[in-house]
Structures are given as structure tokens and as C-alpha cells.
Amino acid sequence: MKPRDQFGLDALLGRWPAQDPQEHGGPTWDERADKIVAAALSLKDAGSPGVLDALTAAPPLDPEPGEADSAGFEVIAPAPVIERPSAPGLARKPSDAKRPSLKELAARASQAEATRASMPPAARSSAPPPATVTPITKARSSSPGTARASSPGREDSGVLRLADVAPPAAEATAKPAGDKAAEKAAPVIQPAAVAAPAPGGAGSRTGLWAGAAIALMGIAAAAAMFLNNKPPPRTDVVADAKPTAAVVTTAAPQPEPPAPVASADPSPAATDAPQAGDTPPDVGATPSATAVASADVKPAAATKDPAKGGKVGTLDEEMKKAVGANDLPTAPQDDGSKPAAGGSGGNLPEQPSQGNAQAAIRSVLGAARACVSGAPDPSSASVTFSSSGSVQSVSVGGWAAANGKSGCVKSALQGAHVSPFARPSYTVPVTIRP
């Protein structure tokens, strides 16, 4: 490579003019200026704000590779390297993103330590960032029983302080079993559970007398039930809740008291039971229960301890009874729904599975193919199964139908059989290739 000549690049660039428009007979600069002003005046209000914003903003030029390392070129007014990519109009490169230095990290750590040191020791156990520590700690200390000890979504150590989250005693003791009926009856049971220990827990003579009175009343109630020779009261809450609802609708023909347990203790239960029964689903049941309770307080003890009635069987028997009573209504419903849908009853599938249908067709497809052997084109057929699983009808198309082979194909496909299903019929398209 031989240098042709020496030249001054900067000098050459610096005196590089533009083409003079006037050289080619164009208008003079003054004429151009007048034209520009006229155009500007006529288009004064034509510019949209978005376009003007874009034009008056910094040009959208992409940063060059290595531009971030241009600190040595800060000749006149050195700018921090960190601020360089933030210039408007320049896309920020990922490598230029501000990263905290070790010094900054150390400073942050020391700030966090100082903040933690100023906090109470209890709050220091969980170590969230200082910005979020204070409100969480306040919430914990000010309302230990109502608020959750650890706030989800915030900085959290994950440790629950059981002392802070301990629920009220009534909430802890009155949690019934987890089915719906038990939940319905829960408000009724809860006052009894709370009221029962109250007299005994006092330890006074009046408490003893009250306990004795309750026991006597319970015995009397059991005796009355025994003498009435009625079916034994159901032991589970599910059985109690349903008759209660029935009592309301049928003007209370059954004297079975479902929930007057609370009425054994007159003072608290008389006020608590109606409150507990004010929930909307039990609006009907609660008045009946209170009415029964006010008429006769004896069944209360019977419900509390039904085994004392003497007619109650073993636990297994009672469970069988309960299960049988619960299952009986559901079984006829299933029987009633099946005939409406398909008429076959039982646990039949709505239609044969695809695999079942394919297997059935595959078993007879060989015979059908034999009918169309040598045919240049495939034939088609539609096999309709009845709900019993046997072939109801076969329709043949294509080459077999056009060449008098439909009878052969039909008889071959008639042998297919699928499992019984619920639908009246089920049709499977079949392509018979020779």
C-alpha cells in the first residue's frame, strides 16, 4: 500500500463546503428565505405536538460500542461516567446500568445496621430493610391479637410468634368438626361449651348446686325420652340440623330439640343462643329451637349426652344409621337422573370411548376390506351403535356403494360391538381402504 499523497484530513473536512444551489440557476438565498418564511407562516398551526416534541428532542442516535469508556475524552467539562448513558435520546446499554460499588454496598450495610440498632430487640429478630421495618414492627406491637404477626408481601423473617397470634379463648375452644352441618350448628354448641365450665369452675356452693340441678334435669330429660318411647336422638350434629329446618316448615310436629343445649344454663344461654342463631341461614331454625327450649329444658342434657338414653346402640351402629340415613336420599336421585339422560341407568359412560370404538371397528375391518379388495378407491361407511353396544345400522358410501358391495360391507361391519353406553346411539365414521 503506497500512500498516494499527504493530506490534512481535518483541514479537508473543515473547508468542505456544501453545494451552492445558486450555481445551477436556483433561487438566491434571500428568495429561499422568503419562501421558507411564507411556508412557515402558512403552516403555523399544522404541526402536531408529538412530532414537534420528537423534533426538538435530542436526536435518537445509538451509542457506539466502547462509548462508555470515553472518560478520557472529557476535555472541557468532565462528566461522570455514570451519567453518560442517561443522556436523552440515547438508549441505555445493559452494561452501562448503574451498579452499586462495594463502597456503596458497605455504606448501605452500615446504614441498615444502624437502623436495626435503633429498633427494639424484638423487631431485630427479623431483618428487613430499614425502609419497611418500622411500620411492620409497629403493627406487630400495637395489635398483637388482631393483626397477623407477619405481614405477607413485606419483608418478613417468616417466624410467627405464637403469643402474638393467639386467638381468643372462645375461638380456640369452639371449633367444631369441619362439615357444613357442623358449621351450622356451631353457634349453638359454642355457648354450651363456654357455659358448662362456668358453674363448675367457680368452686362455690352455688356452683355445686347448679351442677346438681343440671344433672337432675338431665336425668329427668332422659327418663322422659325413655318413657315417650321415641327413636333415640341422633348423636351427630348433621342429624340434628336437618330436622330443625323441617320443624319450621311443618309447624314443629317433632319435639326433638336440636340445639337447646344452651338452655340448660339459663343465664348465659338465654342471651347467647338467639344471638348465635341470628345468622341468615338459621333464621328459621333458631326460633324453633328457642321455642322448644323454653317449653322444655330437659332435652338439652339429652343432646349433650345421648348415650344415657339407653336405646342408643354402639358407635358402629350409630354410624351405620347415620350413614344410611344420609345415603338414602342420594341414591334415588342418581337413579332418577340416569333414566332421564340415557335410560340405561347405572354408571354407564355417556358414549363409548374412542379406543373402544376403534377396537370394535378394527375387529371387523378386515372382513370389510375383503369386500372391497381390488377396488381403486376407498369406501366409506357410518356405523351406528345402539346404547346396548351392538350395531344399529350401517350406511355405506364410496366405491363399495357404487359397485354393489355395500351389502357385503354392511354384513361385515354388523359384527362390531362396543360397551353399553348411556346415549341412545353413537355413530362412528369408517374409511375402508382396499
Binding site: 499523497d5 473536512l13 468542505w16 463546503p17 423534533l55
Partner: protein, 195 residues
């Protein structure tokens, strides 16, 4: 007011004085045209960009807040319009055509020093073509910065305001553009540089 400043002209134009705006146009249209000419590389498009620059500036007069000089603001609009023109072109050319008006402009400028030596004129023409080609090979970023600083003579501080980047970045871009341009010219036999 015999020779009002640009800021005064802008203030008068804002208040509806079209003559003041006309004076602003006459004062800056050549430089705007020269800048646009080197950016968009054709005279016709440079004229369009020049007119569009002043039309848009007049529409956006109310947005001019006076934080920069008016001609900086005009340059920024001109650069944006030139880049829009370049990027809206459907095809990019691989090499500079022999009738590129920039070559003629450079030859017009350098011809008196070359006299009537045909060899020198031919060599100067080849250098101009290689120079145009080398500049066109640069990225938009380097090319725009090089044209602003080295051809149009805008200072680094003013270029940084026009381009919205620090002066150090402008200096680095100029250095990088010149380095690449020299390399390109050296590959084509124009390796020596006189001071």
C-alpha cells in the same frame, strides 16, 4: 435595533413578528443547509430539510424555553429531520456514486490549489470519493458527530447540547470517527497525512 441577537429575534417572532423570523432564517439557513447537505448527501433533500427545519421551528416557537441558543435548537431540529430522511430511504447505497454532489463541492474548494494538473485533479477526485465513501460507512452516530464538529465546525460543548450527550462522548465519537476514516482511507492508498 441594528443587529438583534438570535434570542431577541426569537422573542419577536414569538410575538408574531414574521420579519424577525425571516431575519433568523436568513442568518442560519446556509449553515443549516450545509449541515443537512452533508448528512443527507443530496442538494434537493438538503433544501427540503432546511425549509422543514424552519417551518417546524416556527411551529414550535412556543416550546423554545431559551435554555440553549436558538441556533442550537435549530441544529437539533435539522439533525432530527436529516436522520428521518436518511432512515426513510428504502435502499442504502454501497458506494459513493461518481456524481455525488459532495465530491464536486470538495473539488470546487480544493481546485484552486491544484491548478490545472489533470493528475492532481484526478487524485483529488479519488480522495474526495474515498472520503465520502468512508464517511458514509460510519454509523449514524459517528457520522453525525463528525459532520457537526469537523465539517460544520460546531464546538464540542455545542455539539453535546445538540446531540444530548456529554462533551466527553462527543470528543470520543470524533476521535473514533476520525480513526475509522483514516483507516478506511489508508486501506485505499491515502495513508499519509500532513500534519
Amino acid at each position: 435595533m441594528a443587529n438583534p441577537t438570535d434570542r431577541e429575534l426569537v422573542a419577536q417572532a414569538k410575538s408574531g413578528d414574521s420579519a424577525a423570523f425571516g431575519m433568523l432564517v436568513r442568518r442560519h439557513q446556509r449553515r443549516i443547509f450545509r449541515l443537512a447537505f452533508h448528512l443527507v448527501r443530496t442538494g434537493a433533500e438538503a433544501e427540503d430539510v432546511t425549509q422543514e427545519t424552519f417551518v417546524r421551528a416556527y411551529q414550535a416557537l412556543d416550546r423554545f424555553d431559551g435554555r440553549s441558543e436558538p441556533f442550537t435548537w435549530l441544529y437539533r431540529i435539522a439533525v432530527n429531520l436529516s436522520l428521518n430522511t436518511i432512515r426513510s430511504r428504502k435502499a442504502t447505497r454501497d458506494s459513493t456514486p461518481s456524481d455525488d454532489p459532495r465530491i464536486e463541492a470538495l473539488l470546487t474548494e480544493t481546485r484552486p490549489s491544484q491548478g490545472n494538473d489533470p493528475a492532481a485533479i484526478t487524485q483529488q477526485k479519488e480522495l474526495a470519493a474515498a472520503l465520502c465513501d468512508g464517511i458514509d460507512k460510519l454509523s449514524d452516530t459517528l457520522r453525525t458527530t463528525l459532520i457537526l464538529v469537523c465539517i460544520d465546525g460546531v464546538g464540542h460543548d455545542e455539539a453535546s447540547r445538540i446531540l444530548g450527550c456529554p462533551e466527553g462522548t462527543v470528543a470520543w465519537r470524533v476521535h473514533e470517527a476520525r480513526r475509522k476514516l483514516r483507516e478506511y482511507l489508508a486501506d485505499r492508498g491515502f495513508g499519509g497525512e500532513a500534519g
